[in-house]
Every structure is written in structure tokens, then in C-alpha cells.
């Protein structure tokens, strides 16, 4: 295959098959795996001798809450600041549970009602009049028919009136088609995983009626430096593998420095808690750290000697910090001069980053 990014159920096909083969526990209707096996798929473990890699690093109890939600037919809302793996978890849950992560509704300000319902094949409609055959199903409708998980990305960006359509779907588990005077009932196994970013305040706050239809799980930013470094390292290795980068991934020490910078500027205080810092307007999420490190690795592979060093990583780091050319540049400059410059063993970073401001 040459597609740039395979759906995860293909990428992790072997793991999913191993899990399915060794899973003897009861499965909810139309689930490919038992809830416990889904948890193992996401959090890592063992399936009949095969090692299952961790997809999500963090609280087991959170992931269990998410899975138990879906196992009780409830809709799941994954909430969190940007880059906390909401979409990532949602994709893997859909892959593990329904074996299909492709039923997606992308939420934007322009998402129409049809994206949650259906539209018409006008040629057929004109030729044969309204009939079920003339309905062009949305991913939502397909999920309902096939009893699969449907993912809604960025739920809060969807206009409020379109969000309302969801209320009936989630509470009644059916979709009325007034034109045909019928209603399409969802098969068992259907439910929704929505993601939303709780930084986007007030974009389109969910109505309380809609909120009530979801169980909400908040995915937190990684609690500690080591945890975050671990996540970045794991994801960079996986991405590098997909991009066929050379075997030598960036040194743990360099990753730790990227993550240190991100965490310090994100929280506005140095890790030792001693120095207060101005915060940049960039999100500086784990996801960005991952992309900065893998980008640096690619640069080193293609233009350097293959080893990602400060000089390869610093441009990306600076880019993530400086979103506003005036204010953020000042933030970075102050940070470099007051913190990085004095820090033992960080000379290379100081030099490399200084060139960027």
C-alpha cells in the first residue's frame, strides 16, 4: 500500500487479529472484541503471546470509563485541550470495537444537517420518485444501519441547530425520514464518539439537552515530564516507522528537552517551580511536540547526518512557540535569555534557538 496514512484498523491489523483470536470474554452485540480486550488494545498488553502496543498512555481508568460508556450504548464525548489524543483515542476505539474507523463527521461551522442525516440522489429521485433507494446515507446513517461506531470530530464547531438533530438520534436511536414517512432504526452496536476541544470556549456550547446524551470523559494533559516524554518517544518511533525514516530515532535526551521547553512555556513556570515565565499563545500540546520531533528527525535524515540534534529540532520548537510574531517572539527571547542560557548542558539549544529570534 502506498497511501500516506492507513486507517488504524489496517495499521494494527495483526494486533487486532491476535486479540480477537485470544479473546474469550463476552462481547456486546456487534462488537469485534470484548470491552476488556478493547482496553488491552488501547493501553497495551498481551494477546495470546503477541505484544499489543500501547496506543494511549495515561489513566487506565479513564479509558475503561470510555469503553464502559460505549458498552452501555451510550454516546461518548471526549473532551480536552488540544493535542490530548481525543481524535486518536476515538479512532482506535472505533477500530477496535467496530473494526471500522472510517465513519466520520467532521464538525465545522458549515457542517450541514445532511452530514448527520442523509441527502438525495436527485437523478433517482426525479426518475423514480422518493424511495429508500434514492437516499444517500451520511456516515451517521451508515453507522446506524450497520450497528457501528460513528465519530464526530469537533462537535462544538457544528452549528447549534444542526447539533439538535443529534438529540433524537442519540435518545431514540432512530432517524425519521419524513419524506417517506418512515424512520430508520439503529442496529445494536451503533453509538457515537464525539470529540471537542474545551479551549474553543463558546464556539457552540453544547445545549444541556445534548450534553445529557453523552457521558463525558476528559482527557488530561500528561501529568509529568516523564509521562509526556514517553508519549512523544513512542509516537515518534511509530510515525518514523511509517515514514520509513532511518532506524536511529532521536535521542531520549533531545526529546526530553523539547518536552521540557513545551511544558515550561505551557505552564508559565520552570519545572523546578522557581521561575515564572510568560506564556506563549501557542498551544504547545503533546501532539505538537510529537510533530516537532518527528519533523526534526526527518530533517536530520534527509539533510543532516541522520541524528536529530538541537539544530534540527530548534526551528520546529521556535515555530510552535512563536504564533504571534511580536509578543511570542518576546516570550521566547526572554525564556532563552533568562532560563536556557543559564541551564547546564543546554548551550547547543541556546545557540540553535537564538538564531530563530
Amino acid at each position: 500500500m502506498t497511501t500516506l496514512r492507513q486507517p488504524v484498523e489496517i495499521q494494527f491489523q495483526e494486533e487486532l487479529e491476535a486479540l480477537r483470536a485470544s479473546d474469550t470474554l463476552p462481547r456486546p452485540p456487534r462488537w469485534q472484541l470484548s470491552p476488556q480486550a478493547v482496553a488491552t488494545y488501547l493501553l497495551g498488553g498481551d494477546a495470546g503471546g503477541k505484544t499489543i502496543t500501547a496506543k494511549y498512555v495515561g489513566s487506565r481508568r479513564l479509558i475503561e470509563t470510555a469503553i464502559a460508556t460505549l458498552a452501555t450504548d451510550r454516546a461518548l464525548l471526549l473532551l480536552g485541550v488540544p493535542g490530548t489524543a481525543k481524535s486518536w483515542v476515538s479512532e482506535h476505539l472505533a477500530a477496535a470495537i467496530s473494526g471500522d474507523s472510517s465513519l466520520i463527521v467532521q464538525g465545522t461551522a458549515g457542517t450541514p444537517e445532511e452530514a448527520l442525516r442523509y441527502s438525495w440522489n436527485y437523478a433517482l429521485l426525479l426518475a423514480k420518485g422518493p424511495s429508500e433507494a434514492a437516499i444517500v446515507a451520511s456516515p451517521m446513517l451508515r453507522g446506524m444501519r450497520d450497528g457501528k461506531l460513528v465519530r464526530i470530530e469537533e462537535l462544538t464547531r457544528i452549528p447549534a441547530d444542526v447539533q439538535d438533530t443529534l438529540i433524537t438520534i442519540l435518545s431514540e436511536k432512530l432517524l425519521p425520514v419524513p419524506e417517506l414517512d418512515i424512520a430508520i432504526r439503529a442496529e445494536k452496536g451503533f453509538t457515537v464518539i464525539a470529540t471537542a476541544n474545551n479551549r474553543d470556549k463558546g464556539v457552540n456550547e453544547l445545549s444541556s439537552a445534548l450534553k445529557r446524551r453523552f457521558n463525558t470523559v476528559v482527557l488530561p494533559s500528561p501529568a509529568t515530564l516523564e509521562e509526556e516524554v514517553g508519549i512523544v518517544q513512542m509516537r515518534v518511533a511509530q510515525l518514523g516507522h511509517a515514514l520509513e525514516l532511518p532506524e536511529l530515532p532521536p535521542a531520549l535526551d533531545e526529546i526530553r528537552r523539547v518536552v521540557t521547553i513545551f511544558r515550561e512555556l505551557r505552564e508559565g513556570v520552570t519545572l523546578d517551580g522557581k521561575t515564572k515565565l510568560k506564556q506563549s499563545s501557542g498551544t504547545l500540546s503533546t501532539a505538537e511536540a510529537i510533530s516537532v520531533v518527528s519533523h526534526g528527525w526527518a530533517m536530520a535524515a534527509h539533510f543532516g547526518d541522520g541524528t536529530a540534534r538541537a539544530a534540527d529540532l530548534a526551528p520546529g520548537v521556535a515555530g510552535a512557540i512563536v504564533k504571534d510574531p511580536v509578543q511570542d517572539a518576546q516570550v521566547l527571547k526572554e525564556y532563552l535569555e533568562t532560563v536556557i542560557k543559564e541551564r547546564e548542558g543546554w548551550k547547543d539549544w541556546y545557540r540553535a534557538a537564538r538564531e530563530r529570534v
Partner: protein
Amino acid sequence: MHAVYGIRHHGPGSARSLATALAAASPDALVIEAPEELAELLPWLDDPALQPPVAALIWATEDSKKASFYPFAQFSPEWVALRWARAHGVKVYCMDLPMRHSLALRAQVRVEPLVADPADATVDPQPPGDFDDPINALAQAAGYADGESWWEHVVEARGHAAFEAITEAMAVARAAGLGRLDDETLRREAWMRQTLRAALKFGHAQVAVICGAFHAPVLTADALKTHAIKDDAARLKGLAKTKVDATWVPWSHTKFAIASGYGAGVEAPGWYAHLFEAASPDDVAASWLSKMAQALRAEDIDAPVASVIESVRLAQALATMRWRPAPDLRELREASLAVLCHGEILKLKLAETRLLGLSPRYDVLGQVPETLPQSPLQSDFSAQNRSLRLKVEALERVLALDLRQDADRAKSQHFWRLHLLGLAWATPVAESRGKGSFRETWTLCWAPEAALCLIDAGRYGGTIALAARARVETKLEPSAALAQLLALADNVLKAALNDVLTNVLAALDARAAVASDITELMAAMPPLIALLRYGDVRGTDLSGLQALLHGVLTRSCVALPSACAQLNADAALALVQSLDGTHDGLRMLADAALLEEWLAALVTLGGAASTPPLIAGRTTRLLLDASQINHTAASQRLSQALSRASAPVDAAAWLEGFLRGSVHLLLGHAELRNLIGSWLSGMNDVDFQSTLPLVRRAFSTFAAAERRLLLQDILQAGSHSTSVNINDEYDPGGLARVRAGLRGWLGQ
């Protein structure tokens, strides 16, 4: 024949198992792990006015600082067993080492075995891990959140065999070195066995032994054989002894929750009470989540019934996923968070504060019968409360008093007397404003230690008034600091202990006479004046206080000029505050003679060349405010102080003293402002920079709004140069500099 029931102290699961076991076995005697002296308190269990949570308090008669609390909740297995025994007329033996020995052997107050076996103590030099509670340790080893869920899921599931299993498990734990087997524990266990042997000899058909699980293995029939009687007896020979007393005191849920001090280390008493009260284990989750929803609604957060149902489903699904027969507190929290609280942890915390019994605001306090024998001081305390219509409650309550009302004044006096005794029940809320007014605010919150404090204070006297008086006398040491004595006088005055006030004032007077430090002496003035004013409010006879004030004032006035000459900068600043306080206080006191003396002293002080500039400036200001000098005179002094002859730093200090506190002086009077302006712009750069911080400090005592007013005033004046007297000699650069500087200081 006897059966051993090893329980988890305060474990609702144990309590339930025990209730079932006792009903099934119907023993004719109960041998329980409690010190012998508890036996005399047991008849009170028949009194419906004894409502848990309560604690048996046992203390050494001679020294009530040596004491122990034995708390009981309604979900404590011991409580359940004792109630059962009373209801069925079954004889109870208290088998633990009597407190007359334990207290003689030990130094401080603590909460006793019913809390966590000392055998599992916390002071082990090599901490064996989190083994404060052996059952918790086993539960954690098995991957459970706490001992309760383990008990529910593992022990309960075994039915009748549960207690045998516990005894076996504990035998293994003890053999593995879990917990601490020190002398104290071994002594206690020897006593337990001896009591048990005596009970068995008495000829009961069926004896039920109820003890913390940890002791179960050493109390079985086998253990009675393997531990030789003569060894046990030898261990107990010649123990030290002291006389003890015992009573019931109210205890509270929050007290159960605190793991140190007097606490009992129960993680969430509200949850335990819930577990105990739930109709059946199946009902626990649904009823807890309903309570959760009610708590959220009480906080004005929507929690529809439909969501409660969904949360129950989620909790059950989570439990199933985790191989648990039923959700425990963790699953219930996760379900509440995801469904009822929409992921918002703050909402969960709000609701849990109400439910878990961890916050004083929603605490549960037990009750003891009023007829309980009490020490004279305790009875007086209750009598006073009754006549003042005050109730002892654990819930924190705020009480606002109006001292013009007789009833409120009496309450205030009562509280201040208790304050003298150190009784932590009523705490005065510091008044932000209107000192000396008619209002006083208190927070009331009863903590069980207060009962011990009352017992302890009994040695000072048999009534609150007598004890408070005697307590005051003990505080009148010659070494006490002036400020301490003043605080004491304040308290005594408010407590209306007028006879002892005379003694306090005498001590104050003696102390003031030897005070060599002018800052200390002057610092005493404002509180002294405040005392006089408070006293007025309360209609106390104040002649003694007046005389004292007069004495201190005279002494200060005489000492001021020479003492001031030696002050360093910090002391000078402190003194300025006392000067201000004294000045304001005296002006409000309306005692013409005192005020006159004071103003005369200020004139002298201001005139003395040795007075530090900060104080000289301040003196000028105070005299101006009191209309002792007019603006012309003040301007004159200002211009002298700012003249080229004085060092810029001194000038700045003078200015600071002069300006501190209020901006109105500058707003109203352009000539003062101009003097300052020309002084500033006349300086060279070096001087300017070194005086800047000082001037800034003067301005920083103005409120932000005042500073803004001033800036407006100045900038306006600057733009119409008519209103500001700008000389031709002014260099425009200088003016710009002043303006820039002002902008900086004035915080724009």
C-alpha cells in the same frame, strides 16, 4: 466455648457481618476489645440521647492531659455489638488493658485502639508500607481501593466462614511480620487473654470475642493454650497505675476522617455510613448516585433522574469490566464524573464535600445525654450555654453580635471567657472595618477536643468565670511582652472579668515602667486607646485604664525626642505607624488633657534637630492635620526640609513622612506641589535616582484611585501652564523628567 470475630475497626462491612453472626450464634457473653473502664460507661447505651458518633473519653484524674478517645460511629462493628448485647441482656466484658495502666505508662493524648491498632502503628522505624490497617493492607495487595470493598467482595462472599478466614489471614500476616508487635501490644494481648479466660471460667455457654482482626489469631482457643497462663500473668505483673475517669463526649464524622492527631483515619465516613445504611448491597450504587444527584441539585447543578439511571448503568458496566461483583466508591465516582458532572471535576468535588463527611460545613456530630455525670466546669459550661441559648454543633456557623443588646453582650462575654481558657469552639472573626463599633462576629464549630479542653481547664476552677480568672493570673508573668499583656487586657476587658482586669493593668503598668524601647512603648499606645474605647462600648469602669494610659503617654512623650535620635530607618517607620495610631486614637478619645499633652510633645519632637527626617516630616503633617500649624507654616517647613542644604535622601525621607497616607494634601494645595516639583527637577541625575525609591514609597501609600486623581491634576496643571507656576528658569527637560517620573510612581 468461644468464637473469635476479627473485625475491621469502623468497617461497615464488618459491622454488618458481625450483626448477622451474632444473631445466628446468639452468644450469652460478649468479650470485646475495649479497656476495662469502658464497662462503666456501657449503661448509657440504653439512653436514646446517646447518639453516635460519640467517643468514650478516659483520662487520668490527676493529669487530664493524659487521655484517650475511643470513638464509635453507628457503623462501627463494636458499636453494633455493644448495642446488640444491651438489647439482649448479654453480659459484656471489656478485655483490653485498663487505662489506669496504659495512661500511667504513657505520656500524651491519643485516639485509641478502636481506631487503628497501635500494633499496626505508624512509628515503625522501618515502615512496612501502608499497613495502618491490616485489612487495608490485604485489600491493597489484592488490588482493591480500600478495605471496605475487599471486605464486601471477598469476605462477605464467604458467608459464615468469613471470620475464620480473617483469623487465618491475619495469622499469616502476623507471621510475615506485618504490623508491630511491641511491648505495648503484647501486654494488651496478654490482658485480653486473661480477661477471656476469666469470662470462660464463669461458665457462659457461648462467648463471642470481638476484636480488631489483627488480634484475632492470639485469642482463639488454640492461642489460649499456646500462650501459657503464667507467661501472660508475668507480663502483667506490677504495672504502673493511675486513677482515671471516663465519660462520653460527642464525636464527629470529620474526626473520623483525619488520619492523624485525634482522627481515626476513615477515608470517607459519609460513604461508610451509606454502606451501612443501604438496604442491601445491591442498593448501594443506585442510592449513592441518587444522593450524589441531590447534592448536585443542592449546589444548583442540574442532575435529572435520567442521568442518575445512566450513571448507575455506567458504574455497573465499569464494575463488570473490572471483575467486581458491584461498583465501589471509585466506580461510583467515575460514573458520577462522566455522567452527572459532564467531566467537570469541580462539580464532583462540590457534591462529595456534602456527602463524604470530610468538611466541617456538612459534618455530622453525635450527642451525649445531658444527664451524664460531668465535671463542675462542664456543667457550668452547659448551664451557661443553655441560659444564652447556644447550642454545641459541629457544623460551622457564623454568629453576628450587636453589643448594644444585653443578650448579645452576654454571649460575647461568654465567648471571650472561653477564649481565655483556650477552648476552640467560638473563634472571633477579625473585623475588617469599624473597630470599636458595636458589632462582633464569631464562627462557632465544635470539635471533640474541646471536651478534653473543658475537662483540663477544670483545674483552674469550677465555673467558667472562675477558671478564666485563674487562667489569666497564670499569664501575668513579669517576662510577658507588653504586646502580650495588652492582648490579654483586651481579652479580659471583653470577657468582663473586671476584678482581674485590675491585676492585668497593674502588670501592664509595671511592665511599661521598665520598657526601655520607645518603639515598644509607642506601639502600646494605639491598642491601649482602643481598649478604652471598647470599654466604653461595654460600659466597664475604666478609671484604672485611663490612669494607665496617662502614665504610658507621659512616659512616651518625655522619652520621644531623645529616643528618636537613635532610631534606624526600620524602627523609624514602625514608630511613624504608632505615631499615627496614637494621634488618631487620641483625637477620637476626646480627652482634652491627654490630647494637649500629646500635641505639645509633637511640637517638641518636630522642633528638635536630632529628630530623624521621616519623623520630623510626619510630625509636621500631624500638626497640620490637627490645625496646630497652618499651611503657610507647613510649606515653610517643607521648603526648609527640601532645601539644597539637606541631603537628598533626608529630604526624601522628610517628604515621605509628610505625605504618607492621604493624597488630599497635595490635591488641594498647588504651592506644596510646586515646592516638591522644583525640588525634584533641581536635582542632578545621581541624586534623582537615589531619592526616587523613597519618594515612590511615599506615593505608594496612596490608594490607586488617589494616585490617578493626582496625576490628572498635575497633567492638567502642566498643560495650562497658568495654573502651575513654572519659572522661566525651569528647563523643559526637567519638567518632562518629572512628568515621566510621576507617571512611573503613580502607576500608569
